[in-house]
């Protein structure tokens, strides 16, 4: 056995860290300058342009930018296509509208006195008696309608978020249609199709906003700025990574510890909250609300803004929304005017009457088709381009010897050789096909067990059952004394079992680093609040997580470290396998399940991998290995289990198994036994 090279990991890691800051300073400075310029322009706009109608148009545009940001979280980050997003817009709008107008006037009673004391309602004396007048403040309503709308998001999402992408789209379309219809047909609550009126304008320190557009414009700017901040902070955090993992590959996300249901609901609720706040602002500015303002075309328009601007790109969707709104309110009107003049000039009647503004929906349709066919990433793509690698970065030396220390991965509390994993009588059926038939095996701690067998023998099914991706029809699986058979995949990861997949399930559009950091999802604690506020404890956790990821990646020499920011879809097959192993290691497992890790590697790379796996076992990991390369099995395995047609047909050392007649028959056929 070769000598392990001490300190290999920290060398490479330090080298890279020194190089990093220089590479990334320039773009950060440039984007900061752009943001500052945009902020200044936004703040000075009403002073420069004194036209109230124009300010109002831009305020509307900003409201739609806020809506686009909300939909971006649902569609762009989490990958959940929501075709009924306007329903949340409506709920936020009507929440404020109902609680600040004369629509509801219940009889006065002592029940309302504490609310009157809080300033939320007023007592209205009329000849017919005393009534309640709701006058909840706009500023209080902003967070309140966010909460109300988020609750509706959870209400709609809870039964439906497990549906596949296109079915979820249909259900959300359904909700998007049901909400305005309910609003229209419930006049006592919403004044039906005639719309709410008398919605109170916001007041700030005694100043009533009235109907001038300027104060609403500034509130809109502040809202958009806040939502951009929240979006950017979430995207670059544990929460954002979990969302993107779900978007890229739900199964792999679950296997890496992401609680899919919880995070999908979170995305839905967050997107709904954004729409709720925007609805409140929009209605306060309009001082009325009708159900027609929230129909399907509005949902489509917001989707077009997101697609046009760049799905998943925070600045992209803001720019996309602003451009399309400006197109609708200014450009098309001016263009129609010019066409009218042209029509008069050439005497064509149709040109004189054309109104391009009413063809905006046709333009939306064309934009959707065009963008999907020719520029799916949108105007401002969410993923940055990465610079090409130098020749030295591209050439990788095969390193032998493995390593002797790896942060976060190590000996657990189990004694050496004690049974870590016990499987008894495990049976799995897919319809009429019995994939696993009463399979029993055990994995001792700190040992390597290999599972071999012909194709279709049930090896990957075994892994799938162990990690909760496939239900079992009988039997028991016990890990560190705990029954794990009925647990969901992310809980099994939390217990300490991590895996790789036979067909490699990486998150293709995410970088190598992001993939590995998602592996750490279950070990990190940052939630939404921490991510948005960037508390010191959060920043520390992120920095430590990043360092640990780099250390793990450094195990593979300079194969993966130069490619930290590259999307994994661009990696070679062997590098993708290595990234998957790194991602599994990042979760700090006690038991590692490797499904054909050496597939796609040449003999030299295979030897390198064997050394690395030996090192993992040496530092305390237990490993179950599915492999077809029997020399790898011979070199690594303490114990070999042979499956054929779902049954265990042999178990023992490599030599014993190699000579077993049943095994020879399974692999090579009956006549080979007598050869």
């Amino acid at each position: 056995m070769a000598e392990p090279r001490a300190g290999m990991t920290s060398d490479t890691f330090t080298r890279l860290r020194r190089a990093a800051p220089l590479a990334w300073a320039a773009p950060a400075l440039r984007s900061r300058a752009l943001i500052a310029a945009a902020a200044v322009a936004a703040l000075l706009f009403p002073i420069a342009i004194r036209n109230d109608a124009d300010i109002d148009s831009l305020a509307n545009a900003l409201a739609f930018a806020a809506l686009a940001l909300g939909l971006n979280i649902v569609v762009g980050f989490a990958g959940l296509l929501d075709l009924g997003y306007a329903a949340f817009f409506a709920i936020g709008a009507y929440s404020y509208g109902i609680l600040s107008s004369w629509q509801l006037q219940p009889d006065w009673s002592s029940f309302w006195e504490p609310f009157q004391w809080l300033g939320l309602v007023a007592r209205n004396h009329t000849t017919a008696g005393d009534f309640v007048h709701f006058q909840v403040s706009f500023w209080l309503m902003l967070p309140l309608s966010a909460a109300i709308t988020a609750s509706f998001g959870i209400l709609f999402g809870a039964p439906t978020l497990r549906l596949k992408g296109d079915y979820l789209a249909i259900v959300t379309l359904g909700f998007g249609e049901i909400v305005p219809i309910v609003v229209r047909n419930w006049p006592s609550l919403t004044n039906g199709a005639m719309g709410l009126n008398g919605v109170a304008a916001p007041q700030l320190f005694g100043f009533n906003f009235g109907i001038a557009a300027t104060p609403y414009y500034y509130v809109a700017v502040a809202l958009v700025a806040l939502l951009i901040l929240i979006s950017v902070r979430l995207k670059d955090s544990r929460v954002g990574r979990a969302w993107m993992a779900i978007r890229e590959d739900e199964i792999a996300a679950a296997a890496m510890g992401v609680d899919r249901v919880r995070f999908k609901l979170l995305a839905f609720a967050m997107g709904a909250a954004f729409a709720g706040m925007t609805g409140t602002l929009y209605i306060a500015k309009l001082q009325t609300a009708t159900p027609d303002m929230f129909m399907f075309p509005v949902s489509v328009m917001i989707l077009v803004m997101v697609v046009f601007g760049g799905i998943g790109s925070v600045w992209g969707v803001v720019v996309g929304a602003l451009i399309l709104q400006v197109l609708q309110s200014w450009v098309l009107e001016d263009l129609s005017g010019w066409l009218h003049v042209l029509g008069r000039f050439v005497g064509v009647d149709w040109l004189q009457r054309v109104e391009l503004a009413s063809s905006i929906e046709l333009i939306f349709g064309l934009i959707l088709v065009f963008m999907m066919l020719f520029r799916r990433e949108g105007l401002i793509p969410a993923t940055r381009r990465v610079p090409a690698l130098s020749l030295t970065e591209q050439s990788a030396q095969v390193g032998r010897g493995g390593f002797d220390r790896l942060a976060g991965v190590g000996a657990g509390a189990e004694r050496d050789g004690e049974k870590l994993l016990e499987i008894e009588d495990l049976t799995v059926r897919f319809g009429g096909l019995v994939a696993l038939r009463s399979v029993s095996l055990s994995v001792p701690a700190h040992r390597i067990v290999a599972v071999i067998g012909p194709n279709g023998s049930g090896k990957s099914t075994l892994f799938n059952v162990m990690t909760g991706l496939v239900p079992a029809d009988g039997g028991m699986v016990r890990f560190a004394g705990m029954e794990i058979l009925r647990l969901p995949p992310h809980r099994i990861l939390e217990c300490g079992i991590a895996r790789t997949f036979q067909n490699i399930r990486l998150f293709p559009n995410l970088s190598v680093l992001e993939n590995v950091m998602i592996g750490m999802h279950a070990r990190l604690r940052t939630g939404t609040v921490g991510a948005v506020l960037r508390l010191p404890v959060t920043r520390r956790e992120e920095a430590e997580a990043r360092e640990r990821a780099l250390e793990i990646l450094a195990v593979f020499g300079n194969r993966l470290l130069p490619r930290l920011d590259h999307p994994t879809a661009s990696l070679s097959y062997a590098n993708r396998r290595r990234t998957e192993i790194a991602r599994a290691l990042a979760s700090g497992p006690k038991l590692l399940l490797l499904d054909e890790p050496a597939a796609g590697m040449n003999p030299a790379e295979t030897l390198e991998l064997v050394d690395q796996i030996k090192s993992l076992a040496r530092i305390g990991l237990s490993i179950v290995l599915i492999e077809h390369k029997l020399d790898v099995v011979a070199d690594l395995a303490d114990n070999v289990i042979v499956l054929d047609h779902g049954e265990k047909i042999a178990e023992g050392t490599t030599d014993a198994v190699r000579r077993d007649e049943e095994v020879i028959r399974a692999y090579l056929g009956r006549s080979a036994v007598y050869a």
């Binding site: 992408g165 359904g174 066919l373």
Partner: protein, 309 residues
């Protein structure tokens, strides 16, 4: 007319509606079965075809309600109208597939579905901008013949609808189950890659599915116009919602499912409209859609599972 007879009349009406929704749902489900794609554009192809049918009838000099024909003239006019409408719809469907969907064939995720939303929008707005927002009177070549069964009336046009729908549905079943191309379609629906390896021209199969599906929508569109005596730019949404729910209810991707689902939704619409107010019909249908997807995602006959494991 007793309550029972009113209900029976609504059942008769519902069956006719159901036949139309069944045809529309069939076209939709054919495409889904092969591509697992929800084609939003399908329902506006339906809407555009109803206008084509109207123009075809107007071309033959039939407009409004005055000119009722009988015998061979009637059969000839209807035959012409159906052939022209179905052909135009089929060609439109194939064009949509070729231009906007084939380039997206391998792309993961909802990109193709978003594209169909775009195409749907384009069709909708082109008609809205050219023909306008009003309803158009549909030409009616049918004589006003009706049969009485107690107090229940069965109109000639309802018999016609059922005849056409049955012929088309039986034709489709025969095609899918007895012809080579039909077998190729079923194979592609089960496993496109394996079908390709067995020598099936998958591109041609997909094109056929789009052609047949859109042609069925065209037939449904002409039926709509003849039944309701009007057409307008919005019928894609209204009828489309119902046909879509019918397809989901029956089990999306299943041909018998679409037929059964269509009839059920037609009955629900007409009987439900009678028992509860008509303005709530949309909510009822959408609620059925949501409830089916949440509780019985595979529908009545479906095999495709809409949930992720």
């Amino acid at each position: 007319m007793s309550d029972y007879e009113v209900l029976l009349q609504q059942v008769v009406n519902g069956l006719s509606l159901g036949a139309m929704y069944a045809l529309l749902a069939l076209g939709f489900t054919l495409v889904y079965g092969i591509l697992e794609l929800i084609n939003f554009a399908h329902f506006n192809v339906f809407m555009v075809s109803s206008f084509v049918g109207m123009w075809a009838l107007q071309l033959l000099g039939i407009s409004g309600q005055e000119r009722a024909l009988t015998g061979f003239a009637l059969v000839g006019v209807l035959g012409f109208a159906f052939i022209v409408t179905m052909l135009a719809a089929g060609i439109l469907g194939v064009a949509i597939e070729r231009i906007s969907l084939r380039p997206l064939r391998g792309v993961r995720g909802t990109a193709a579905m978003i594209t169909t939303i775009g195409v749907s929008y384009i069709l909708f707005n082109v008609i809205l901008l050219t023909v306008g927002a009003g309803s158009e009177n549909y030409p009616n070549p049918l004589p006003a013949r009706r049969w009485q069964w107690g107090e229940v009336t069965i109109d000639l046009k309802e018999v016609l609808i059922w005849a056409v729908a049955l012929v088309l549905m039986i034709g489709l079943q025969l095609f899918v189950n007895r012809t080579r191309l039909g077998k190729a379609m079923r194979a592609t629906a089960q496993d496109a890659e394996a079908a390709r390896m067995m020598g099936v021209d998958v591109d041609r199969v997909i094109m056929t599915a789009f052609f047949l599906g859109s042609a069925l929508a065209g037939a449904a569109a002409l039926i709509f116009g003849l039944y309701y005596n009007y057409t307008s730019f919005i019928i894609g949404y209204t009828a489309g919602l119902r046909a879509f729910t019918a397809a989901v209810l029956g089990g999306i991707g299943s041909v018998p499912g679409a037929m059964v689902g269509g009839v059920v939704i037609g009955l629900i619409e007409s009987v439900g409209g009678q028992l509860i107010a008509v303005r709530w019909t949309d909510v009822i249908i959408f609620s059925i859609l949501v409830l089916v997807l949440v509780f019985v995602p595979t529908g009545l006959f479906g095999r495709a599972t809409p949930t992720k494991s």
